[in-house]
């Protein structure tokens, strides 16, 4: 390390900036959960930490999302092509994920009343899905 020349050190710093900057923008939702737009594919994930690999809390990418203090509802495309896509619900307190649900099941469930899922792009733009 002691023999590292200034130009090499500069390259190292520039490279550090490069690799550090590859994560996407995030938006806080509720109780530490965040919606992240991953820079490499423009898709959205529900995460609890920036450094997570994989598909986040719902194990998939999210098209629409809505939430209140108790629930986060999301329309999910699962990462594993053998898993079913659809609406999934996260109970915030217990961290339990259930689903998939059809849109009709979501609307009929009183626990989800008052939650109005919107597109992830709208959430990033500052609109609220609660």
């Amino acid at each position: 390390m002691s023999g590292l020349k200034p130009i090499a050190a500069s390259a190292v710093i520039l490279t550090s900036i490069l690799l550090l900057s590859c994560e996407g923008e995030t938006k806080k939702l509720v109780d530490g959960y965040r919606l992240e737009r991953f820079a490499e594919n423009g898709k959205f994930y529900l995460i609890t930490s920036r450094s997570e690999s994989g598909g986040g809390v719902f194990d998939g990418t999210i098209e629409k999302i809505g939430w209140n203090q108790d629930w986060i509802l999301a329309s999910v495309t699962r990462l594993y092509n053998g898993d079913p896509n659809g609406w999934y619900a996260l109970q915030v307190k217990t961290k339990q994920v259930t689903g998939p649900f059809s849109e009709a099941e979501i609307k009929a469930n009183p626990a989800f009343s008052g939650i109005l899922p919107i597109s992830c792009a709208d959430v990033m733009a500052g609109k609220s899905g609660r």
Partner: protein
């Protein structure tokens, strides 16, 4: 090659929604090609039905000889053959005059890639196929290991012709790759990447209930001024002209992996 094990109860011949596509996948026309793969309008990768030959991995050891003629290693790469068959590559092939106690060797490759991108020597779309050193290095990255682990755990216990791929895996960079035994120049440059796995082919061994699945792993990364500057640089201001300094550069790293699987339930 698709063979049917004689005592299997179900056919292994591929069909729509079987080996090569999921019934839940989009049926829209195929669009962009990524190496030997095609990206659908949904963004998911798929591969047309084909047989990819399995690659045999040889093992070669580089060693010194003692006066007695007996071979020995001066100091092998701590990650062993996972770092490639040249166990002295990490010291530039000169184990008697070089060392890498801090595991910083990868920085050279990362800095070189950064320089090439900044000066316009690399840009546009670059596909690193299975035989390239870059793809091999990415296949050893921690992000790739996480993708591999996810893929294999999801397909654990699944019959060969039911194995499914993975789309849009968020392969985040792991800081352990900066130093020590995980130091990896290509991974350091790439940082985080999108990960996909496509089932290339599945087959059963003749007269056996066992078979194999060949999976194609793809990691995709775009280097741009926007990604460099934490998104503060507007996408519209990015340099898109291939060959221009600091222009968008999309790299695709592709490699294959063969897995053993069961062709039918043993009972």
């Amino acid at each position: 090659m698709i063979l049917l094990a004689p005592h299997c109860s179900e056919s292994l011949a591929p069909s729509n929604g079987g080996l090569f596509s999921s019934s839940k996948r989009a049926t829209s026309p195929l669009q962009n090609r990524v190496g030997g793969l095609r990206r659908r309008s949904s963004g998911r990768l798929s591969r047309s039905r084909s047989t990819r030959p399995e690659t045999a991995t040889g093992s070669t050891a580089f060693s010194c000889k003692t006066a007695s003629g007996r071979s020995f290693f001066l100091s092998r790469d701590p990650i062993g053959v996972r770092g490639g068959i040249n166990l002295y590559a990490y010291v530039g092939g000169t184990p008697t005059s070089s060392s890498d106690p801090l595991g910083l060797a990868g920085w050279g490759g990362a800095a070189s890639n950064t320089g090439d991108w900044a000066t316009g020597h690399k840009g546009g779309d670059t596909n690193y196929g299975p035989d390239t050193g870059e793809a091999q290095e990415m296949s050893r990255s921690i992000a790739a290991q996480k993708l591999t682990s996810y893929f294999t755990s999801k397909n654990s216990g699944i019959l060969c012709n039911d194995w499914q791929g993975v789309s849009d895996f968020k392969a985040s960079f792991d800081f352990r790759e900066l130093f020590g035994e995980h130091s990896n120049g290509t991974a350091e440059f790439v940082g985080s990447a999108r990960g996909d796995v496509v089932i290339g082919v599945a087959f059963c061994n003749s007269g056996s209930s066992n078979g194999s699945v060949v999976a194609i792993f793809v990691l995709t990364n775009t280097t741009s001024l926007t990604s460099l500057l934490y998104g503060l640089w507007p996408n519209a201001w990015n340099v898109t002209k291939p060959g221009a300094p600091l222009s968008n550069w999309t790299q695709t790293y592709e490699w294959t992996q063969t897995y053993s699987c069961k062709c039918c339930d043993s009972n």
